[in-house]
């Protein structure tokens, strides 16, 4: 008997007296939340000690340039399909950079798929403007652009928008650890600096406003 047959057989005999009708899952938890989602998102991302910047959509390239300059990022890589005007002098990841080259790059600028206000999370799904997973992992600085209309309130809303069969990366703040005395310390293996730029409709935000920042580690 193969291991597969044996394990499935053990399961079936273990469950022989169990009622096999599917347990109904009651989903009485919150599906949506009220209020200014963009504001909440900005607040919650900043809670993780990421830098959050709000800008009008038509000022996006300037806002990105300001942040790159602020953190002293000179070499930048972007996914091949990121709008070229966002970071005019960037290297694109086409053909894909090898890992050592990626490691030698200061930072990466990408878009995202969804932002979750309640948890301050951005989700990348390797879709438009996001590139492959290694791109946002190896460089030490990640600037992620979130359009205001990509922000949803809750985790259930995000799950509904996302395709589970795509490779996803959920990011809530910079890399961190709680392994020393259960205190959170930012900056381990993933990017140590995370900058989230929220791009609103042009009329919404008249000029770039800085929400919060941390000093460079």
């Amino acid at each position: 008997m193969t291991a597969r047959e044996e394990i499935l057989g053990r399961i079936r005999s273990a469950l022989s007296t169990v009622d096999k009708t599917e347990t109904v899952v009651s989903r009485d938890y919150e599906q949506t939340i009220e209020g200014d989602l963009v504001e909440l998102f900005a607040e919650r991302v900043a809670d993780y000690r990421a830098t959050v910047v709000r800008t009008a959509a038509d000022r996006l390239p300037e806002a990105i340039a300001e942040q790159l300059a602020h953190f002293g990022i000179s070499s930048v890589v972007t996914p091949a399909d990121l709008p070229a005007q966002w970071v005019p002098h960037a290297d694109t990841d086409a053909p894909p950079l090898r890992v050592p080259a990626l490691d030698a790059t200061d930072g990466v600028v990408t878009a995202c798929a969804v932002g979750i206000a309640e948890t301050g999370t951005i989700v990348l799904d390797a879709g438009a403007g996001q590139g492959r997973r290694a791109l946002t992992l190896v460089p030490d600085f990640h600037l992620c652009v979130v359009r205001a209309d990509q922000i949803v309130g809750t985790v259930p809303e995000a799950i509904a928008r996302l395709d589970g069969t795509r490779p996803l990366t959920w990011i809530s703040g910079p890399s961190a650890t709680s392994d020393i005395e259960l205190n959170r310390v930012e900056g381990v293996h993933g990017p140590r600096i995370l900058v989230v730029v929220i791009a609103g409709a042009p009329e919404e935000v008249p000029q770039a406003t800085r929400m919060s920042s941390i000093s460079t580690p």
Partner: protein
């Protein structure tokens, strides 16, 4: 069970030793206190927390009650997405599959993401025996590995170490680290980053576990903080994931519950820094080969037990450890298993068998039954109920063998068996009690009663029993 946990003393013995370690108790009190506060704060933010817990319980029950169907569905979906599914009856079989895969990839080292399943099967030891070096990349696992130590907590295996001890371990074991390293946690984390960087960028094979496996999409999920998980799941050419068969959830939608329950319960965060999900292989993005090893190793035995089965709902958040008054004082090593604390006390005896070794039958007694674990469990595992159930099993397993407790019960049975004998016994107790009594209390007693009476006074039996009073009315 092989080397690492073999010959561990029974819980009471190990606990007594741990209680004498004041440094350990200080470290644990500090760490569990911190995490309890953080968890309470983020849970209080959610008015719908109880509804989430109920949904979490129901999702896992639904999984367990139809486990064969969901496993087959997962297998189909992973295979369709380009992954390879293997099945392992026990630890030895799982380890052999991993070793064969690493050799087939022509590698002699692997990078590892923290995984309870691979701890449970003692994969690192098996790999070492096969000449394959395993590098733990989670900070706490690294501290344990470099310290030649054992894990003592599900989430933070090095919780028993404070920053000064961690600095000493790094100084001793990490090449290139100098006396200039301080015990500032940020500096220690930076040292780990530098130490592992080259390994990540050059490793050919990675081994992981998974927090969840989604049956209807074939998706695997790893929840982490540091980015070591992302490194292992993304950069190597071959990814091997060892996953317990109970880790399934039926649908993609079910993750909306689990991804809210887990981070709040484990690290006390609204969301953990990184969650990665992947389905088979994606050309041009991540590993070229993906192997999923589905592990039984005693889980089907637990599944067959109507009360014990609920332990398989566990999502390994470790909230029950952090609130447990016993765990806080003894630490995790006393439980003699990779799964310490309240959940370990019900999981270990079921996975190994209640009479498998010296430790297992003592674990269901490693609790005050205060119920704090049940109150924080995100999937509503009634740990006290399972503990009592397993206590009965541990006692049943010893039936027929002579013991002092059994002899005492036999004597009691004889006395309680007739009113005449009970009357004699009461008279004897009343007289004997007065002889032993000091100021109305009976203190420490000699012989086999020492264990009970050492910390408890007994009231002196009254001169007149109820019966004699009743008869004299």
């Amino acid at each position: 069970m092989t080397g690492t946990w073999l010959g561990m003393p029974p819980f009471p013995e190990a606990a007594r030793k741990a209680l004498g370690d004041t440094q350990l108790r200080t470290n644990l009190r500090k760490a569990t206190g911190t995490i309890r506060g953080k968890r309470a704060a983020v849970v209080a933010e959610r008015a719908d927390w109880e509804a989430l817990r109920v949904a979490g319980k129901e999702i896992k029950d639904r999984t367990l009650h139809n486990l064969d169907t969901y496993l087959e569905q997962l297998e189909r979906n992973v295979t369709a997405a380009g992954g390879v599914v293997h099945w392992a009856r026990d630890a030895a079989e799982a380890n052999r599959i991993v070793i064969d895969l690493v050799r087939a990839a022509d590698a002699d080292e692997v990078v590892k993401v923290k995984s309870m399943a691979t701890q449970e099967i003692e994969l690192n030891e098996a790999l070492a025996e096969a000449g394959i070096a395993a590098y733990e990349t989670d900070l706490a696992e690294l501290i344990v590995q470099l310290g030649h130590d054992r894990p003592s907590h599900i989430l933070v295996p090095a919780i028993h170490r404070n920053r000064a001890e961690i600095r000493d371990i790094f100084l001793r074991e990490m090449p290139g680290v100098t006396e200039a390293l301080t015990d500032d946690p940020a500096e220690l984390a930076a040292a780990a980053r530098a130490h592992l960087r080259r390994k990540f960028l050059t490793a050919k094979v990675a081994v992981s576990g998974a927090n969840f496996a989604v049956a209807d999409s074939g998706t695997l999920v790893v929840v982490e903080s540091e980015g070591n998980g992302r490194m292992c799941l993304t950069l190597p050419e071959v990814l091997i994931s060892v996953v317990g068969i109970e880790k399934l959830v039926p649908t993609w939608q079910d993750l909306e519950v689990m991804l809210q329950l887990l981070p709040r319960s484990s690290t006390g965060e609204r969301m953990n820094p990184y969650t990665s999900t992947w389905t088979g292989v994606t050309p041009g993005d991540g590993p070229r080969e993906f192997h999923l090893i589905l592990l039984d190793n005693g889980r089907t035995d637990a599944l067959a037990d109507d009360i014990g089965r609920q332990a398989l709902r566990c999502i390994r958040c470790s909230a029950c450890l952090n609130v447990c008054p016993v765990y806080e004082r003894t630490g995790g090593h006393a439980y003699g298993s990779v799964y310490p604390g309240p959940i370990g006390a019900i999981l270990t005896p079921q996975l190994r068998g209640v009479t498998a070794d010296e430790v297992s039958p003592t674990l269901p007694f490693a609790s005050t039954l205060c119920g704090a674990c049940y109150e924080v469990c995100p999937v509503l595992i009634d740990i006290p109920q399972a503990l009592v159930h397993l206590r009965a099993k541990a006692v049943d397993a010893k039936r027929g063998k002579p013991s002092a407790e059994r002899a005492a019960m036999r004597v009691a049975q004889w006395f309680f068996g007739s009113s005449r004998r009970l009357r004699v016994a009461q008279r004897l107790v009343a007289t004997g009690g007065r002889v032993l009594s000091r100021r109305g209390r009976i203190g420490r007693l000699p012989g086999p009663l020492k264990g009970w009476s050492g910390a408890r006074d007994t009231a002196t039996p009254p001169r007149r029993t109820f019966r004699t009073w009743w008869e004299s009315r």
